[in-house]
């Protein structure tokens, strides 16, 4: 793309110690983020997208998280974030990389004034309390909260849902970070408010030249906002590419199933709604081959035995699937799966 890479994640492996055994939540994930771009991470609940996001911020629970800083890397600003100690990491959080969460009601401290919470972001990173309050007021105006002066001294319960999410954005962007991670920022909001919030994030992104990592399961939001998309399944990356690649030139059966599942207005009256059968696999004993094999309508014998290799399809577009091997059975595949020049048939 020509823009500089601001975040580079290599071989991310995260596991959790649970009562039932070791749960491998993220297994060998790689991706990067460029300046000013929006990368959407898409997938079902439990696919590892939130865990990935939290690992960038370093806020996974210390006592039961298993990660190896020598084998995995999260490179930002010339440093491997996984190798930083708590003090160093806390300097990065909020100031260079910020995060907003799904439920704005529970994500704000109920007994602390909203203005104070925004100001806290700033005076944690060196600005004086007095100055921070002045800047915090400006932030409230920047996120378009009316009557900012009065609202500054109010508590979260006095705000509406949409306003709270705006306040959360103000908290996160107070230090003008280089990266914003948004974990399902609109899931808890009404549809009309969703659009407003996404617009707001887009505007601020442009103004601050921020990179945005957007975690969501809502393909509609992805279609309007994302530059690049990463589809995750069961802790692994199924497919990654830019918007056109994923929506029109998709190469992975899971991506295909996701897109098919979105109900469309053009569906004929009596057609059954497509639903993907089954549930994601247990990650304590993950399947040996491709994690999606059991639910995949195009699965082959090899899919259960060996994990698929990653195939490249041009600039920054890749998918991990055995169907793209030359030896694969290519009958009845969706048109997009086939390379240009191939036809539907042997």
């Amino acid at each position: 793309m020509g823009k500089e890479v601001i975040l580079d994640v290599k071989n991310l492996n995260i596991a959790f110690q649970t009562y039932g055994g070791i749960l491998r939540a993220v297994r060998g994930v790689n991706f990067n983020l460029h300046k000013g771009e929006t990368l959407a991470i898409v997938g079902e609940s439990g696919c590892g997208k939130t865990v990935t996001a939290k690992s960038i911020m370093g806020i996974l629970p210390k006592d039961n998280t298993i990660m190896d800083a020598k084998k995995s890397q999260i490179n930002f600003d010339g440093k491997n974030l996984l190798a930083l100690n708590e003090r160093e990491m806390s300097k990065v959080r909020g100031r260079d990389i910020a995060m907003i969460f799904q439920d704005p009601m529970t994500s704000l401290n109920p007994t602390m004034k909203v203005g104070e919470q925004i100001a806290e972001s700033m005076y944690l990173h060196g600005i004086s309390k007095k100055e921070a309050r002045v800047e915090a007021l400006k932030m409230l105006e920047l996120v378009k909260i009316p009557n900012a002066k009065t609202r500054f001294n109010q508590y979260p319960f006095e705000f509406s849902g949409g306003m709270r999410q705006r306040a959360m954005i103000a908290v996160a962007l107070a230090c003008k970070p280089k990266i914003l991670i948004a974990d399902e920022p609109t899931t808890a909001l009404d549809v009309t408010i969703q659009a407003q919030i996404m617009d707001l994030i887009g505007e601020l992104q442009k103004e601050l030249s921020m990179g945005v990592v957007l975690i969501t399961h809502d393909l509609g939001v992805v279609a309007s906002v994302a530059d690049r998309i990463m589809v995750m399944y069961a802790g692994k990356v199924a497919e990654r590419g830019n918007k056109d690649h994923i929506f029109y030139d998709l190469k992975h059966p899971y991506t295909y199933a996701l897109l098919k599942s979105v109900p469309r207005l053009t569906v004929q009256n009596k057609e059954k709604l497509y639903s993907l059968f089954g549930t994601p696999p247990d990650l304590v004993t993950p399947p040996k081959g491709c994690p999606f094999a059991a639910r995949c309508e195009f699965a082959m014998k090899i899919c259960d035995i060996h994990p698929p290799e990653r195939h490249e399809f041009g600039e920054m577009h890749s998918a991990a699937c055995w169907l793209h091997d030359e030896r694969a059975d290519k009958r009845d595949l969706p048109a997009q799966f086939l390379k240009r020049g191939e036809s539907n048939g042997q």
């Binding site: 806020i59 006592d63 959080r93 994500s107 007994t111 944690l124 508590y155 006095e158």
Partner: protein
């Protein structure tokens, strides 16, 4: 907020009224007529005075209103019928301050130590410190205060002679009673503070605080502490009840001339009027302390202070 306070005070007054009424009628239902039987032993003149004052010849309702009138207009809680001439007011004036001293000290210990222990246990969850604290808490809750007091008296007072076993007058007399009074409360506060902190720890806004760059110490102080403390404030009301109750037995055991000891003495002497008077006093104290606690809670929790009329 003002509305809240007024409502609460009004309700408190009503409750007080209910308690005193209830007590009066229960005591009047006591077998035999204690006032009359005691009165018969006295000289004529005294009998007339007593009859007039308590309206002995009148039906019960009249006596009731007479009592209330005395109480409200003159603050007269009642006279002893066992020891003529002594009034409840005398006992209150002389002995209540002593009980209060121990009670307040115990309350302070309970709150400060209990909350601190609870917070430490929660923050060090699962580690040795947590287990030790939890075991101590369970033991302290399951051992009744008088058993604990007996143990203290026996070992620390009697066997090791570190402090006097009983009595009143010197600072060293405070030691065992205050410990005995405070132990149960420390355990309760620790237990509830621990649960409260643990539930706050798993809240989303704690994650937000960390995501902003707060170091763990600051997260604990600024974000966890106040939010964990809120539900605990409401415990202070019943804790005060615990101290009253404790005072009944512990003052007797430690020979402390507090109000509780005289209350129990009045009970065992079947000195009904004195019991009535002191009960009215205790009821007043209790209701007032509950009102204070509720109002404090309202002041501390912004959701109540500002009212839920959001937006």
């Amino acid at each position: 907020m003002l509305k809240f306070i007024l409502k609460r005070v009004g309700f408190g007054v009503f409750t007080l009224f209910v308690i005193i009424t209830l007590t009066f009628f229960i005591i009047s239902a006591a077998p035999g007529d204690p006032i009359a039987s005691k009165a018969e032993l006295m000289p004529e003149k005294a009998q007339e005075v007593i009859r007039a004052k308590y309206g002995l010849d009148e039906p019960i309702l009249t006596r009731y209103f007479l009592y209330l009138k005395n109480l409200i207009t003159t603050g007269d809680f009642g006279e002893s019928i066992t020891y003529t001439g002594r009034t409840a007011n005398q006992y209150i004036a002389k002995n209540a301050p002593i009980s209060a001293k121990i009670g307040i000290m115990a309350l302070l210990f309970q709150v400060v130590i209990g909350i601190a222990l609870g917070m430490v246990a929660a923050l060090k969850r699962g580690k040795v410190t947590d287990h030790v604290i939890r075991v101590c808490v369970v033991l302290a809750i399951c051992i009744p205060s008088f058993v604990f007091a007996a143990l203290l008296q026996y070992y620390i007072g009697f066997k090791w002679r570190l402090v006097p076993v009983q009595g009143w007058g010197k600072p060293s007399h405070y030691v065992l009673p205050v410990i005995a009074f405070a132990v149960g409360g420390i355990a309760s506060y620790a237990k509830y503070m621990r649960s409260s902190v643990l539930s706050v720890v798993s809240e989303d806004y704690i994650v937000t605080a960390k995501a902003k760059g707060c170091m763990p110490g600051r997260v604990a102080r600024k974000h966890m502490f106040r939010n964990s403390l809120l539900p605990i404030v409401t415990m202070t009301g019943p804790a005060i009840a615990g101290i009253f109750g404790g005072s009944f037995i512990l003052e007797k055991m430690f020979s402390i001339p507090g109000l509780g000891r005289y209350y129990i003495k009045a009970v065992s002497d079947s000195d009904y009027t004195m019991v009535l008077g002191l009960t009215a006093f205790y009821a007043m104290l209790y209701v007032v302390s509950l009102i204070v606690v509720d109002i404090t809670y309202g002041l501390v929790d912004p959701r109540i202070r500002i009212g839920k009329s959001a937006k």
